[in-house]
């Protein structure tokens, strides 16, 4: 224990955290202390509280899993309001937080004063202010379009704000720069005139539904903005829309996978790199793709022990250089190994791993017990596509892209006119390619509305070529195949478009 803040990160090689300004709050009536900048969930976690709610049927404990507002296991009652996603809700002084047992009752002090909705008309609605959405906004605004950029989080940057490692790629795409610095650079570009006059930001807001509009020039969306545990509704009418909504963490089936202490990789990064809270003291990492390897290294940097990395495949899927960084710190990477079971009743108290044969079947008698207090799942992502489905955009299952995705052409155009996709939602890749796709989609959307500049189409072609170059190597094979399959479906359906 260090200075009474056992799980708060004090020294970090890349990040600095400030533990000066504390905020008092209560959990189930008990007085606790958090810090300015905490989310409610991060503050609870730092106080050693791991159970946030219980499951509907068997009342099993639920902690937080995704940490980015996409799963439902951190729903709690805050100041009498139930179903608050505590992982993306900022902590405020003197709030009262209560554990929510399965279903919540309608709140006694419910207000509905913010309905009917406020209406906004914009040229381009961009959903998601991560690397793809930010680049799309900058590209479209540079050509003269007016953009509304909506994001669920309290900050822009999406997952960039927790990427403490330096990015790969080419110099044009900011290689050698840490993700956290790229988020700052993109923010600075947004603040510069004339971009700042053409981009409106709506943070803490969720685009929840698509609605038909009598005027077929417009698309209409419902947006809900959270403010002080209450909400404001917006009716947004836009001529064009870019989906840059990212992806969701995949789950793995094993007994105990729902126990508090089993986290998605994004949650682990959020806790330690955004909020400066150690997720645990000793982690078992599941998955040796780039995400699993990078997050394991970040855990070591945050002072957390990594028991080992298990990978079901016969080879390490991520870059060798990432694996080498872990190995030279003595962290074992066990290929052909999988997690079998998590031990513990209220939270993770250990795990059992097992060896797999060449048919991916467990070898009897090969079980090993791993001493750990947390398990991190880095077993891939699934594109977030539900709003696209609701709009009747043509979708298809493309395994190489991570699942169900919107069909799109090389300009990021979907089957609906003036509807574009960019980043992980168009197929799972990484931030460098998401940024390029964002630029392409931003230019395409602006062009579709008649906003143009000399050489705009040529610039777009350069980005398309750059994307092809990044996909040219052996590690680009999977995204390359994904895009080829998407293109085949596209040609079959829309040759005449």
């Amino acid at each position: 224990m260090r200075g009474g803040l056992p799980l708060r990160i004090k020294d970090h090689p890349i990040l600095s955290f400030d533990w000066q300004e504390s905020l008092p709050f209560t959990f189930n009536g008990k007085k606790l202390k958090g810090y300015t900048g905490d989310s409610i969930a991060a503050a609870l976690h730092a106080n050693g509280i791991t159970t946030f709610s219980t499951s509907l049927k068997y009342h099993r404990p639920r902690g937080f899993f995704c940490g980015i507002g996409k799963c439902s296991s951190c729903l709690m009652e805050v100041n009498g309001q139930p179903n608050i996603r505590t992982c993306i809700t900022p902590l405020q002084a003197n709030i009262s937080v209560t554990q929510q047992d399965s279903k919540a009752a309608w709140p006694k002090n419910a207000t509905n004063s913010f309905y009917p909705p406020q209406q906004k008309n914009v040229d381009i609605l961009i959903i998601g202010a991560g690397p793809a959405g930010l680049e799309a906004a900058i590209a479209a605004a540079s050509l003269g379009a007016h953009v509304l950029l909506v994001d669920e989080n309290t900050h822009i940057g999406g997952q960039l704000v927790k990427q403490t490692h330096k990015f790969f790629g080419s110099k044009q795409e900011k290689a050698g720069t840490r993700g956290i610095s790229i988020a700052d650079q993109l923010n600075q570009q947004l603040q510069k005139p004339p971009i700042n006059k053409r981009v409106d930001l709506l943070l803490n807001a969720t685009v929840f539904g698509y609605y038909e509009d009598n005027n077929n020039k417009f698309y209409t969306f419902g947006v809900i903005k959270r403010k002080e545990y209450t909400t404001i509704h917006y009716k947004i009418r836009c001529k064009s829309v870019i989906f840059a909504v990212g992806a969701m963490e995949n789950m793995l089936l094993f007994p105990g996978n729902d126990l508090p202490g089993v986290y998605g990789a994004g949650a682990v990064q959020t806790l330690m790199n955004v909020y400066g809270v150690q997720p645990g003291k000793r982690m078992l990492m599941v998955g040796a793709g780039n995400v699993g390897l990078i997050v394991s290294y970040q855990l070591l940097q945050a002072g957390i022990d990594v028991a080992c990395v298990v990978e079901a495949a016969p080879i390490i899927g991520g870059y060798h250089v990432h694996a080498a960084k872990l190995r030279r710190h003595g962290i074992p990477i066990l290929t052909r190994h999988s997690i079998k079971e998590v031990l513990g009743k209220e939270k993770v108290e250990g795990a059992i791993i097992t060896t797999l044969d060449e048919h991916w079947q467990p070898i009897p008698g090969s079980d090993q017990t791993i001493s750990c207090d947390t398990v991190c799942l880095a077993v891939g992502l699934t594109p977030s596509t539900r709003l696209l489905s609701q709009m009747h955009v043509q979708m298809n299952t493309i395994p190489e892209a991570g699942g169900f995705v919107a069909l799109h052409d090389h300009t990021m155009q979907t089957s609906q006119p003036r509807v574009y996709v960019a980043g992980d939602t168009s197929g799972i890749e990484e931030a460098s390619t998401a940024m390029i796709e964002g630029k392409i989609a931003g230019i395409s959307a602006a062009l579709s509305l008649g906003h143009t500049k000399k050489d705009a189409e040529k610039t777009r072609q350069q980005f398309i070529d750059e994307l092809d170059q990044l996909h040219a190597g052996p590690f680009g094979q999977k995204p390359r195949q994904a895009k080829q399959r998407i293109a085949r479906h596209w040609r079959k359906n829309y040759e005449t478009l």
Binding site: Y319, R328, A472
Partner: protein
């Protein structure tokens, strides 16, 4: 299936080993042997000693041209570059180190190989604290120059 894809560490056969003469001069040894789309090392080199056919190619160092300045060590996103130099019976390695606390100048540290095993003792000669990646220069016995790739502090501070 390549052995390092299963184990996560390279063997000496995977690396372009500098000659005795090159080691005396001091050169950058790049342990990046997969075709990944990445090229900041090429741009960082002041004497154009690192070349790549295209962004996915494997970087090749021309040891005759390399001056061992170490600029590429701190820029490499994969932390895969090490400057190796020999002076008489001593080996001097400049390596990336992204951890806290940093060792002090003159401090004795454990010198680790690619598997994280302690192989010898190292003495810290220089610390270059930078915005990109901090690099640490250590002195070890010459015979470990192709083995040692990491350090660990002897005392937990």
């Amino acid at each position: 299936m390549k052995h390092y894809e299963q184990t996560g560490y390279l063997s000496i056969r995977d690396i372009l080993i500098p000659s005795e003469q090159h080691l005396k001069k001091g050169v950058a040894c790049i342990e990046c042997i997969q075709e990944i789309p990445c090229n900041p090392c090429v741009d960082s080199c002041p004497v154009h000693a690192i070349s790549m056919k295209d962004i996915n190619a494997i970087p090749i160092v021309d040891y005759d041209v390399c001056i061992g300045c170490g600029k590429c060590v701190s820029i490499c996103p994969g932390l895969a570059i090490f400057v190796l130099k020999t002076v008489d019976e001593k080996g001097i390695i400049t390596l990336p180190y992204e951890f806290v606390p940093l060792p002090a100048n003159g401090e004795s540290v454990h010198a680790l190989n690619r598997k994280g095993e302690v192989v010898t003792k190292g003495v810290v000669k220089k610390i270059n604290k930078r915005d990109d990646t901090t690099v640490v220069t250590i002195e070890i016995p010459k015979k470990y120059i192709m083995d040692v790739r990491n350090i660990r502090l002897q005392k937990i501070k």
